[in-house]
Amino acid sequence: MDKIYQDKVKSFFIGNRTSYGLVFNILLYLVLIAIGFVYLYPLLFMFVTSFKSPSDLLNPMVQWIPTELFLGNYIKALRVLDYSVTLPASIIVSIVPSVIQAIVCSLVGYGLARYRFPGKKLLFILLLATYIIPAQNTVIPQMLTYRDLGLLGSVWSLILPAIMGQGFKSAIFILIFYQTFQSLPKVLEEAARLDGASDIKIFLQIALPAAVPAFIISIIFSTVWYWNETFLTVIFLEGGIQTLPMQLSKFVQAYENLYPPGMVNIFDRLNEAVKLSGTFLNILPLLLMYFVLQKWFVESIERSGITGE
């Protein structure tokens, strides 16, 4: 009797074949919470600081909890970022090329997955090459061409490469579609072919509906990547469309245009709280998107089979 009781206590703390036991669970949660805190620290810092009033900023006693809910930083940051203009611009610049890119990549991925043709190996090598070649090795001639065509500063400078399957990180999306189409059973397509369906019809009516998850994954990931991309957007769009990250990268300059340093009182000078509320406003749309589509983001990589076998 005593032995059974001892075993029960032991397995409660140390665990057995079916459960990990209390000690291990506590350790697990401790480690995960600690790492989670390190992960979220910059965001928490940013969020808290953005609500600090100038007097809170100077007060060393105020660390994590501001004395009041001060919204002045956000009001300034909204003006400095020109939010009502840059937010729609950012949305267009990130969503339009992403959708086009997903459509084109699905075509290319299907061609690679379902057809045998000479030079396919070479095509894969070139595909990897487009992934590896750094943007700065190809961007200047493109920029000069766009300048000659008068497309510099317009969203077309991002759409055109996307139409040709050369958008931002296109290779990854092509591989995602390739994997997706390869894992689909061929039976349906063969049956349709026997019934006399054309290749285009088979692609549109049988393959595409089965690839909806791949579309969602591609579109949300490339939206995020286009949104966050600043190297290409600065070169292609500068002088034309202003995206949020572009405006954020010249925040100081924009702030001083609106609030000239010599002209405003000390409380309206640029401080880190205003900068961080600008940063927060910059990522807020992405955060909202992430929490709404969270399931798609985290489960997507498992679904897409990008791990490659």
Partner: protein, 294 residues
Amino acid sequence: MSAKRTDPRVMKHSTREAFYGYSFVIIWIIGFGIFTLVPLIQTFLYSLNQVTVSATGIDMVFVKWDNYTRALFTDPTFVQAVIEYIVETIVSVPIIIIFSLIIAMFLNLKFRFKGVFRTIFFLPVVITSGPVIKELTAQGATSIPAIANSAVVSNILEQLPNSLRTPVEYLLTSFVLILWFSGVQILIYLSSLQKIDQSIYEAAAIDGASAWEAFWKITLPSLSTTTLIIAIYTIITLSQFSENTIIKYIYGQTYAVQGGIGYSSAMSFIFFVVLIFLLAIVYLFLNYRAKSQF
């Protein structure tokens, strides 16, 4: 089947298949030519010339390899940036790989609130952009201040030889940043872990293998391809990050009076070669390990 002779349906089967295959990928091939191959060659030509852009067009003066020798032998900023980049990559990549493997193995266990932690660890992928990171770093939000500024740490740092000090300092000041680059990698590892057949572990346990042995003998070998993919993905991501000092320097030189397009193109190609070199090392290293394990 009253098709004409040109109708693909009456072609030989393999020809027909190739015809349709090409028609699906043709747009990519054209795009590759226009947006990758031609610009790449053009950039290479720029790198051999002194390029000045005027309102009317581009003037090029052929200077042979001058831009390259200038970048490598007379520009200390560039060489410094390249060395820094290599050091940062060599420090970050193993940390990211090991860290994401550990986190993935945690997330592969059974416990409650798993989804919450998965959401947290993936969050940075969504918000990491150059300007955001720049602002956060500038405000000191990316290093845990208690660690990076503590007296003990700075004392230890002073004891270290210079060659070790840079990587350690980089590690301390950008610790959170390095972790922030692990989001995708964690998920890739997680999905590979879930694909390992559980019966192998059970068989090993019956044969008396401990969890530790199972990790080294089953888990790690099964993940060797994944690790290679993750390493390559990490190197590329780090090299493309727009706050990368080299990229910033090259971009700055493009419009500088002293630099110009020719000079920045030459630096782009040197950086490209360095990148390929790093990828090759990682590939050979991990591939060799992967082969020797089986």
